[in-house]
Amino acid sequence: MKRFTISPPVAALLLAVILFVLSGLLPNGFGSDMSIARAQALNILRLSVFLGVIAAGQTLVIISGFEGIDLSAGSIVTLTAIATYVTVNGADEKVLPALFLSLLIGAFIGLLNGAGITFLKISPFVMTLGMSGVVTGAIIIANHGNVSGKVAPIMTRLIARPLSPEFPIPNVLIIWLIFGILMWLLLERTTFGKNLFAIGVNRVTAKLSGVNVTGMNLAAYSLAGALAGFGGFLLVGNTGVVMIQLGQPYLFPSIAAVAVGGTLLSGGKGSYWGTMAGAIVLTLITSLLTTMQMPDSVRRMVLGATLLVLISIYGRQRSLRQ
């Protein structure tokens, strides 16, 4: 009695393709013009990268279980975007230092999250929520009305532009693909990854099997912070400007992307491929709703209903009756 099953990442990706094809039939869709269709598809994929990278850290802490979640991701993105913007200030040679600074800031905030969660036993939801408030406060002070800075030309070329005119794949997509492979290696081919899944399934058995649960938890949250920092770095390269609410709109979608990608929010099971697919689906739906020129209210309701349908398909928990 083997039931026909389809893995969540594949299902999400299939859904994205179907939705995209259907969107072509809309009055203002691409119709039968393949070059427009390709341009639209590439643009949606390009926009998915930012959500996808920000959701990478979210995937790690959610897999680590114990109600793991990172609500500070949005404000970390904003903070590191501002830090990058100010540090780079238009100079190509400052890009690498800015990247390291972003990762460092993110990792530090993540470490604070991890410390509060592991040592002070604060639940991840409120710890990271409180941290988000603190970081937002820091942003307001740092911003103090206005920041002056500039994105470097090399960032725009790497993030916002395609590889070459003949080969119009956005560079950032290639970065994302490499990033995805690295994330896969981290989760599936390293001790860190194995231990992460182990503590996500059951902390007690993991500890008894010799996993350093405290260290893993600290590492997971620090890494999640660093990845959110990387997201901020990429995002500012795309927008070219910073504002105080830059990262916040990505916060809950990053959790939704993880859930839509089939990662269990209770931890211990999931993949980054799923999150990537989830990010693509969510970005696709959001941009489709925008192009359909509905009023904001209807758009929100449709988005809510679509999310409900998506998670109903494979976000269900185990039945109580076994």
Binding site: L129, L265, I311, G315, S319
Partner: protein
């Protein structure tokens, strides 16, 4: 002996720390604002905090049952927009009470939608209620695209300045909420609630109607969100589809500051009520301490994080001894 007492207090009365925190906050606030306990100040503070207090009480029930409700802000917004558009500034108080009744039904219905997906379809609470929060916030925006509308001034006045026996109306509302909670806790349903939140699988195996209990927590939360929406509408006197969006996360923070664990099954409603008041007082303190406006958010958030961290810090030190 002392060790026993402390542990007993912390485990048996999770709200004990919330009480200390509340006392501390009141003292600091009193120093900065000596007229804090005068009738008018008390009333003007309590009527502002009441919506979040009610919301936190409902959120506490869901969290106790092992869930979480991110959609409460959306329900508050729906109720606010219904009242503001259907009653109107020139409306009669009679119409107001009719729509108040309707609002409660809407709240229960919205909660039932959450409960259906979480309890019966077994979807993950945080992401489900996040999705429905879009449904509800979108619906509120659909009812009232631009801020406006209102309720009759006489009704708003009733909420703002009723103080029977010299005590603000909010105290009576809180008393009713706590009274109801203490009654519920003593019933079989109360036991079920703690059982489901503590360990749903074990509860199921001992014939507790887990699904029905989980469903009911969301309906309760929806109704409480509707009450909260009614209160905030009577406070502001006008309609704004965005009014509830900032309240959701505050209600969750209030629950946790109130000593109710996010994992479910531990805590109560009294703690979260105190937690909500503490949050209000922290805001007061920050405003009255004459902190540079740029620093306000950081100071407020830091106080909240410290408040959340203190029980953990105390435990760390106690373990070291």
């Amino acid at each position: 002996m002392k060790r026993f007492t402390w542990n007993m207090l912390m485990t048996r009365y999770p709200a004990f720390f919330a009480l200390i925190l509340l006392g501390l906050a009141i003292i600091v606030n009193f120093i900065l604002q000596p007229n804090l306990l005068e009738r008018d100040t008390l009333n003007s503070n309590m009527r502002v905090w009441l919506p979040i207090i009610i919301l936190a009480a409902g959120q506490a029930v869901v969290i106790l049952g092992g869930g979480i409700d991110i959609s409460v802000g959306g329900i508050v917004s729906i109720v606010n927009t219904i009242l503001a558009t259907r009653v109107g500034l020139e409306g009669s108080p009679d119409a107001m009470w009719r729509y108040v009744a309707l609002s409660l039904l809407v709240g229960a219905f919205a909660g039932a939608i959450n409960g259906f997906f979480v309890a019966y379809l077994r979807l993950q609470p945080i992401i489900t209620t996040y999705a429905t929060s879009f449904l509800y916030a979108g619906f509120a925006l659909y009812i009232l695209p631009n801020p406006g509308g209102g309720i009759p001034a006489t009704v708003a006045e009733l909420y703002r300045n009723t103080s029977p026996l010299g005590l603000p109306l909010a105290f009576y509302v809180i008393a009713v909420v706590l009274g109801l909670w203490w009654y519920i806790r003593s019933t079989r349903y109360g036991n079920y609630l703690f059982a489901v939140g503590g360990r749903a699988q074990a509860a199921y195996e001992t014939a507790v109607p887990v699904t029905a209990v989980q469903f009911s927590t969301y309906v309760i939360s929806g109704v409480m969100a509707a009450f909260s929406g009614i209160a905030i509408t009577m406070l502001s006197g006008s309609g704004n589809a965005d009014i509830g969006s900032s309240m959701t996360l505050n209600s969750i923070t209030a629950v946790v500051i109130g000593g109710t664990a996010m994992s479910g099954g531990v805590g109560g409603v009294a703690g979260p009520v105190m937690g909500a008041i503490t949050l209000g007082i922290i805001q007061n303190i920050v405003s009255f301490a004459h902190i540079d406006t740029w620093w306000e958010t950081l100071v407020k958030a830091s106080i909240i994080v410290i408040a959340l961290a203190t029980p953990g810090i105390i435990n760390l030190f106690r373990r070291r001894e």
